[in-house]
Symmetry: C2
Subunit: 437 residues, 2 copies
C-alpha cells in the first residue's frame, strides 16, 4: 500500500469539506459525489466552465497547431518542444522536457500544504501511431477536423492547455499541485515508456498520488481497469537446407507450428479476462529451402497480473516443448532448432478499485454533466500507475470522434457538446486535487 | 508407351550399324558404347572436336555476348531475339521464336529418312534467376568469367552454337533432324513453361523422340531422374479481430500451424525419394490483431509421380483436417477459417530408365572423354519429357563453374578442359541422332 492510496481518500475528504459549504440541493449520499456537486455549483467553477466555452476557438486552433506537428512513436521531440513552449506561455512553473521526452509543467497548489501533498497528474500523450512522412495537415469541414492523430490524442493536449487557462481565469487554487504532462510512448511500440519513466525514474516519481490520463474523445467513458499485456516475437532458428537434399533435418517452421498449437490448447480464464493471440508470422527465404529462421508475434493479455504471469509461463512452456519435440522428431546433425524470445510489449495489468475516490469522483463528475458514465478495462497510460497501486483513471477529452489509428481519423468540435465533455474532466480533476475556498 | 521409346532404340541401333564399321580396338559389349566408340574414332568426329577447340575463343565471345543480355524469368525476349539471330547466322533452318518464347532452329538430318524420323532435341535455357536491373557485365580474370547467369545456363547456349559450327565444319550429316532450342522458363517461377510448351503444344510436339537438356557445367554428370515437385501457397483466411476483444474466434494461424504439424507427421518413403517442406510463412497485420490471413509455401518432391501424388493427397488432407479442427475448437460466429490453395510450382516427376539407349550412349560418351560418369536425379527441363515417357537426360556444358544462382557466379573456360567437356556432349548427341557415313 503506497502513500497514494491514503492520500487520495484524504484529499477527497478535504475537497468535500472545502466545497460542501454551498449545497443548494439535497446533498448526494456519496462524499465524492457531494464534493463534485459542491465544486460544480461554485461560482469559480462556473467561471472556469464559461472560460472553456469562451475560448473554444483558441482550443480548436491549438488542436490544429499540435496535430500538424508530426509525432511518430520515438519521434515526439518536435511536438514536445512546441508543447513545452505552450506550457511556458500558459504560465506553468518548472516546465521541462524530462530525459525520456515527456513535457512536464506544474500548476502549484495552495502554498499552505501543497508541497507536502502528493501531486495530481493529468496527462495526454504526444505520440501518434502514424509513421514519419504521413500528411498530418488538418482539414476542417464545419465543426469536423480531419487528420491523423487529431483525436488520439492531440485534442487532449489542447484540452489540458484550456484547463490551465480556465483555472487561471477563474482564479481557482487547488490544494494539491497539479502536474500537467504531455507524455511520450503511449502507442504500441512506445510501450508506455513515457509514464513508465514518470513513475519509476522521473523526479516526481515519489510524489504522485493520483493520475488522470486523458485519451480519446468519449467523455462518458472511464477506464478503471488496465488490461496488462506481454508481447513476444519468438524467432525459431535451425540449420536450414535444401528442401529436397536436406529433407529429414529439423525445421524451425514445425517448431513454430507446434508452439502456436500448444498456445491454443491453453485454457485462459474468462474472469479475470485473459486472452492470447498468435498474430503475425514471417520468415523463410524460398519455397525450395528448409528455412533457417521463422518468427511469430504473440500477444497475451489479462486484467490480472497473476493470470498474465501464469499464461506467460504456460506459453513459454508450450514453445519450449514444441522446440524439444521437433529436435526429437528429426535430425539435428547440422544443429538443433532453437527459440529466441524478444519481449516487444510489456504493459502491466492493474485496476483502480470501483470504490476508489478517483473513480467515484470521476463518475460523479461525468454524471454531473449529464452523461451516463461507463467504466471499462483497456490498455492505456493508466496501466502503469494502476500496476503500482496508484489510483488512476483514463478519461475522454470530450466531443465526438472516430477512426482513431486510421488516416481518415476525425473529431467533431461542435458546441456545446465539445465543452460539455471538457467540463466533466475538469470537474473530476478538481474534485481529486481539492479546491481552496 | 509413346513412339519415342521405340524410336530411340531403333535410332541407336541404326547409329551402331552406321558407324561400327571402323573399330580399331576390341569392341565394347554394349551396343551404345560401341556406337559411341565408332563415332569417336571417325575422322569426321575428330574434325568436329578439333573445330570445338579451334573456335574456343569464338565460343567464349558468344558466352560473354549472351550473358550480357539480361534474361530474368518471363523476360527472356531480348536474349531470345539475339539467340534467334545467331541461329540464323549459323545456318539453321526454320528458325523461329515460338509463341511461348522458345528459340527453335533445325539442323536437318539425312534427307533419305529424316522427315520420317523423330527429332532429337538439344536445349539450353535462356532464363536466369536474376531479376531485372542485375548487373550482368562479365568480368574476366584469365580463364575465369564472372557474371550472374554465366554458367547457368548461358554457357550452354554458346556451346549449342559451337556444336552447329563443328558439325558443319566436319560435314557431319545426322540421320535424325536435330532441333536446337534456347528455351524459356526453366528457373523457379518459370516452372518449365518453355519445355512444357515444346512438348505439349509446339509444332514439333509429336515428332520429338529424344531430349538433351544442357544445363550447368559438370560434364561428368548425367541427370536421368526427374525429381517432380508440387508447390503450393496455402492461404488460411478467417474473420480476424482484436486480439483481446475478439478472443475466442477462430484464428487462421492455428489452422496453418495444424497443417504444418500434420504435414510433418506424414511418413515419406525413402525410395523412391520423396520429401516435403514448409518453407516460407507470412501474414498478419499487427501483434494486437487476430490475423485475417496467413500463408505458408509448401514444397513436395518425389522421384516418383505416384509417390508425389500420394503425398499431395495426404498433404491436402492434413490442411483440410487442420482447418476443420480450428473451426471446431473456436467460435465461427463471424465466419470460419478456410484454406485456399494456389499451385505455385508443378514439375512432373519422371525418369529415363538406366538401360535406355540415351542414358547408355551418354554414359559411354562421357567415359570416352575420360570422365567418371555420375547419374543423378534432379529437377531440370528433362522432367517434362521424362514425365511423358520421352527419353531424356540433362548433361553439362563442360568446364568448371560455381556459385550458380549467386551474384558471384563464375565459370572457368580453361583449355583443354573446356573443350573436353563439350566434346562429350557432342558425342552423346551424335550417338543418339545417328551419323550418316
Amino acid at each position: 500500500m503506497r502513500l497514494a492510496t491514503f492520500f487520495l481518500a484524504a484529499a477527497l475528504s478535504a475537497g468535500v469539506l472545502t466545497s460542501a459549504a454551498t449545497p443548494a440541493r439535497a446533498a448526494p449520499a456519496d462524499p465524492q459525489a457531494r464534493a463534485v456537486a459542491a465544486i460544480a455549483a461554485s461560482p469559480a467553477f462556473k467561471t472556469a466552465a464559461a472560460t472553456l466555452a469562451a475560448e473554444h476557438e483558441r482550443t480548436v486552433a491549438d488542436i490544429v497547431t499540435l496535430t500538424e506537428i508530426p509525432a511518430p512513436p520515438f519521434k515526439e521531440t518536435e511536438r514536445a518542444r512546441a508543447y513545452a513552449e505552450m506550457f511556458r506561455a500558459h504560465g506553468l512553473s518548472d516546465v521541462e522536457i524530462d530525459p525520456e521526452g515527456n513535457v512536464l509543467g506544474l500548476r502549484k497548489g495552495a502554498a499552505r500544504d501543497a508541497v507536502k501533498r502528493p501531486l495530481v497528474v493529468i496527462a495526454a500523450h504526444l505520440d501518434t501511431v502514424f509513421p514519419e512522412g504521413t500528411d498530418v495537415t488538418v482539414r476542417r469541414e464545419g465543426t469536423k477536423l480531419m487528420a491523423p492523430g487529431v483525436g488520439d490524442d492531440t485534442r487532449s493536449l489542447a484540452v489540458l492547455l484550456a484547463y490551465v487557462r480556465a483555472l487561471d481565469a477563474a482564479k481557482i487554487r487547488t490544494r494539491s499541485d497539479i502536474l500537467f504532462v504531455g507524455n511520450v510512448g503511449e502507442e504500441g511500440p512506445g510501450d508506455l515508456r513515457g509514464v513508465r519513466y514518470l513513475f519509476t525514474q522521473g523526479k516526481y516519481k515519489d510524489r504522485i498520488g493520483a493520475f488522470f490520463s486523458m485519451d480519446g474523445s468519449d467523455a462518458s467513458r472511464v477506464v478503471t481497469g488496465g488490461v496488462g499485456s506481454k508481447r513476444y516475437r519468438v524467432t525459431f532458428k535451425g540449420p536450414g537446407g535444401h528442401s529436397y537434399g536436406a529433407f529429414g533435418l529439423v525445421n524451425p517452421m514445425t517448431a513454430m507450428a507446434g508452439a502456436v498449437q500448444g498456445l491454443y490448447r491453453i485454457e485462459a480464464p474468462a474472469a479475470p479476462r485473459t486472452t492470447y493471440s498468435a498474430s503475425v508470422a514471417g520468415g523463410g527465404t524460398s519455397v525450395n529451402s528448409i528455412p533457417n529462421e521463422v518468427w511469430t508475434d504473440f500477444d497475451m493479455r489479462s486484467e490480472s497480473a497473476e493470470a498474465l504471469a501464469r499464461l506467460e509461463t504456460q506459453f513459454r512452456q508450450a514453445v519450449d516443448e514444441a522446440v524439444a519435440a521437433e529436435n526429437a522428431a528429426r535430425s539435428t546433425r547440422f544443429g538443433p532448432v532453437s527459440a529466441e524470445y524478444v519481449l516487444i510489449g510489456d504493459r502491466p495489468a492493474g485496476a483502480t478499485p470501483a470504490d476508489a475516490a478517483i473513480v467515484r469522483a470521476t463518475l460523479a463528475a461525468i454524471s454531473a454533466q449529464g452523461y451516463e458514465p461507463q467504466t471499462q478495462s483497456s490498455s492505456t497510460d493508466s496501466n502503469l500507475p494502476m500496476s503500482l497501486g496508484i489510483p488512476a483513471v483514463t478519461i475522454g477529452s470530450g466531443g465526438v470522434g472516430g477512426r482513431a489509428h486510421a488516416l481518415d481519423e476525425w473529431i467533431d468540435v461542435a458546441q456545446p457538446e465539445s465543452t460539455r465533455g471538457m467540463t466533466a474532466g475538469l470537474l473530476a480533476l478538481l474534485a481529486v486535487a481539492g479546491v481552496e475556498r
